[in-house]
Amino acid sequence: MTFHAPILVIVVPLLSAFLTHLTKYTRLKRGAEIVALTSMIVSLFFLLSMSGPVFSGEVLNYDLGGWPPPAGISLTVDGLSFFFSLLAVGVGLLIIVYSLGIYVYARRYYSLLLIALSGILGIVLTRDIFNMYVFFEILAVASYILVTYKHKTRAIKASFKYLIMSESAWVLFLLAVAVLYGLTGSLNMDDIAAQTPIIYQTNPQVIYLVFALMMIAFGIKCGMFPLHTWIPEAHSQAPTPVSGLLSGLILKVGLYAMLRVFFLFFGAPLFLRGAGSIIVYLGLITLIVGACLALAQEELKKLLAFSSINQIGFILIAIGLGTRLGFEGGLFHIFNHALIKTGLFFCAGIIISQTGFWKIGQMKGVWRKMPGLTAAFCVLSLAVIGIPPFNGFFSKMFIVEAVLLEQNYFLLFFVFFGIIMTAAYFFRVIQTFFAQEDFKQKPDFVPQPVGPFEHLSTYVFAAFCLLVGLFPGMVLSLIHPAVKVLLP
């Protein structure tokens, strides 16, 4: 059983995606939900069954169909992919729990959600670069449709922009893969990684080209400036759980690909010569632009989307530094941001569905109607600012310490600027929530009923923020094997 676990983690949700449609022919009343939830739990079980060897530093290789790597596809579970796949399964599970309460979501929704999640798991676990491309496309196609799920005009426009931007990223990525295949004759990442230093000796321009193409592709996916342009639209127009999926997981997949591919392929030749600092300074611009634009937003969901860009800036700075502490901080912040931002989008979604307002200025006095939810929002936003005792504090402290050890005070100043700006734009929202006057309901607006599932998943995220903040060692033990992959 354990032997086939890597592929089962991906295949179980993928097959269940098609199974959800078959529940139409059964007597089960909410069959699709049950299938979706069960498949994620089973997938989590298979993932956890591999935790023992991963924590002891082993790398589990699995050749698909028994074909050895150059010809066949191989899957690898090491610390890094285990970290990201655990994040994907955990957050995915809570996204499904959130969706349970909303009856609009039918079989099609759950099946697309499962396809997207299995796409993420595939990207994270595969060791074949073309296979990675395929999973990227699977994820992308599923998420385009998910964004437009409610058939609103604005959502369709947003999704179209997302489609164009994202596909241009994959075209560039495919080009890079083709160039690499032409040069090395292999699609296996380890083979390519072994050959890149040799190619670099004779023909550095090709490596530069591949690096630039991949940088743009992953940059579009993770929201790096100036490629972030699809994010605000798609994040704010998507249905709430899909916003959570986009911000919590899909952005992180871009970061995973950056970590994995860059440090595997270009680690030795390019990074030592300052390609890392390109990531750092692009991250810096991303951070500033995200912070400034978040402050200027009037819509809550757009503010959260720009806040995601801002936080991605922090992560890019941390991983671009390429030091041990930088990786720890970056990965920790990836983990925290996935929890926090998904939770925040859930909060925002419930508040919007209850009040009917999208603009922050109209959400006055929300705390009186929804005290628990406002408290959760406060906790989550304090966590993302980096205020102890919540989880964001530790990751931000690691990032600050990593920058401090580089003795780069210019960078340090802007990191602090970003932290204060985060506080500014979130407290702008919080103070509106606590205003004395009540929001004035539109006369024809009927608030949708919000069930226990939505609240449950939101509170679980908030509780996790506190829990991880109090016991950061839990997550750090997960991060250490991942960092060991990047810096052996």
Partner: protein, 506 residues
């Protein structure tokens, strides 16, 4: 970099702060019972959170947990400040939280730099390591930390949040803020600079400017709580002056003044809370004649006002005498101290004149004495003012000196004290008479001579902040929404990246 919560064993300085907080905090609790009428649960849970933060900061054995609890306190205090939910509460709270987080960032940075230097966050270990490093290495770190603490204290030039935040909070919270919360910053400074041995007399300059600036602006206020808030700035100036003096007398005086200021400033805020509770009014223009209706409040107000002006035998005089002795060599500083005390007296005379004296306005016909639960804490504090003044030498020997680990003694009861008191009274009366006549601080002073924009730090900072916000909005407007342009950016980024890689990375 693992992190645990190291508390205990607290040393005598922590114990001093602990005793002060634990004795004074319950009074706020009792006073709030009748004062806070709605959302009881939220108010008290946040109040307890603030208490946790305060106790944590003074008990923290290392700098990181100091920072952690400071932020917990900050967040708690923020929600207390906006508890009234008036229109002005939110800008004041916003200013408070942003400035506090900025201060927190300074403190965190200092803590991390010290960690990189010494390999530990623990204060005791740092004290052992510090002598091995030169002053030029330690001084910038210590400066960062002290700036963070000065923001917490609200010393000039970081005071801009204080006159907004303290008055707008519910009165028991104002008492808590002025009496205890800003003392944490003073504790932080004393704790760090004597751990690292990076004492510097620059603090005297900040202290004196806070003293004079605070009292000068306090004289002009017509809002009763805002007036008290400016006095907090000026009284914390005394504390900084004492720390800056650096001698045993100076630090002892500073610490003693921390305790005394906590007592009488809490009392003053609770008094003003009683006035507001009875009348619902904060403007001196619309108050008057309350003395006959609220004799008890008037009596305790008198005690507190004389204590803050440094009149013997109330507690303010004792710490001020210590501070005067610490700077006795410098005539200018001495003059500043006496001038501040005289200005304080004048401004409280003004407060008394317009709030308690004269005719009761018809609107306030229903004003009557506050309930027992509110008057009891005030009486306790007034008794404490008197007791701390009468037994000042015992208090110094038994509580303040052990907190510093010294054997400081001081003879409070000499003729100089009396001379100084008379001087302050005379000068204060002079300032009052002159100021009223010249129209510097009448009731309509604010309109009479408003300070020009470029001289007000507050306006400058708020102007810069709103400029930043406008800039962000303009940037947001500029940010293109067209997909063609976005795709163009992708191509531009790709080209730029290729150029950098091929030509610039050699």
């Amino acid at each position: 970099m693992m992190y645990t919560l190291p508390f205990f064993p607290p040393d005598s300085l922590s114990l001093f702060m602990l005793v002060m907080i634990c004795l004074l905090f319950p009074l706020v609790f009792v006073y709030s019972l009748p004062y806070v009428r709605r959302s009881f649960f939220r108010y008290y849970s946040v109040l307890l959170l603030t208490l946790v933060g305060m106790l944590g900061t003074v008990l923290a054995k290392d700098l990181l947990s100091f920072y952690v609890f400071l932020e917990i306190m900050t967040v708690g205090v923020y929600f207390l400040i906006i508890d009234n939910k008036k229109k002005e509460s939110f800008p004041a709270g916003f200013k408070y939280i942003l400035m506090m987080f900025t201060g927190g960032v300074f403190i965190l940075l200092a803590a991390l730099m010290l960690y990189n230097l010494t390999g530990t966050f623990e204060l005791a270990a740092m004290a052992r390591e510090a002598p091995f490093y030169s002053r030029t290495v330690l001084m910038p770190i210590s400066t960062l930390f002290v700036i963070g603490c000065l923001i917490q204290i609200g010393a000039v030039p970081f005071h801009i949040w204080l006159p907004d935040a303290h008055p707008i909070a519910p009165s028991p919270v104002s008492a808590l803020l002025s009496g205890l919360a800003i003392k944490i910053g003073a504790y932080g400074i004393i704790r760090l600079i004597f751990t690292l041995q990076t004492w510097d007399s620059t603090l005297i300059i900040i202290g004196v400017s806070s003293m004079l600036f605070g009292v000068a602006l306090a004289l002009r206020q017509t809002d009763i709580k805002r007036l008290l808030a400016y006095h907090s700035i000026s009284q914390m100036g005394y504390v900084l002056l004492g720390i800056g003096a650096g001698t045993g007398l100076g630090i002892g005086g500073a610490l003693f003044h921390v305790l005394n200021h906590a007592i009488f400033k809490m009392l003053l805020f609770l008094c003003m809370g009683a006035v507001i509770y009875a009348t619902g009014e904060r403007e001196l223009n619309r108050l008057g004649g309350l003395g006959r209706r609220m004799p008890l409040t008037l009596a305790v107000f008198g005690v507190a006002a004389l204590a803050i002006s440094g009149m013997p035998p109330l507690n303010g005089f004792a710490s001020k005498a210590l501070l005067s002795a610490a700077i006795s060599g410098n005539l200018w500083l001495k003059l500043a101290v006496i001038l501040t005390a005289a200005g304080t007296f004048a401004s409280f005379f003004k407060l008394y004149r317009y709030a308690f004296w004269g005719e009761l306005p018809e609107k306030l016909g229903g004003a009557r004495e506050v309930p027992l639960l509110m008057s009891m804490p005030m009486l306790v504090l007034a008794a404490a003012c008197l007791a701390a003044g009468l037994f000042s030498s015992q208090l110094l020997r038994g509580l303040v000196a052990p907190a510093l680990g010294s054997k400081l003694t001081f003879d409070f009861w000499n003729i100089n004290v009396l001379i100084e008191a008379v001087l302050i009274l005379g000068l204060g009366a002079g300032i009052y008479a002159f100021g009223m006549k010249a129209g510097f601080f009448g009731l309509r002073a604010e309109k009479a001579g408003a300070c020009p924009v470029y001289l007000s730090l507050d306006r400058l900072c708020c102007g810069a902040a709103s400029l930043l916000e406008k800039g962000c909005s303009a940037f947001g407007e500029m940010h293109s929404r067209s997909m063609n342009i976005h795709l163009f950016w992708v191509i531009l980024a790709l080209t730029g990246l290729l150029i950098i890689l091929n030509f610039l990375m050699v």
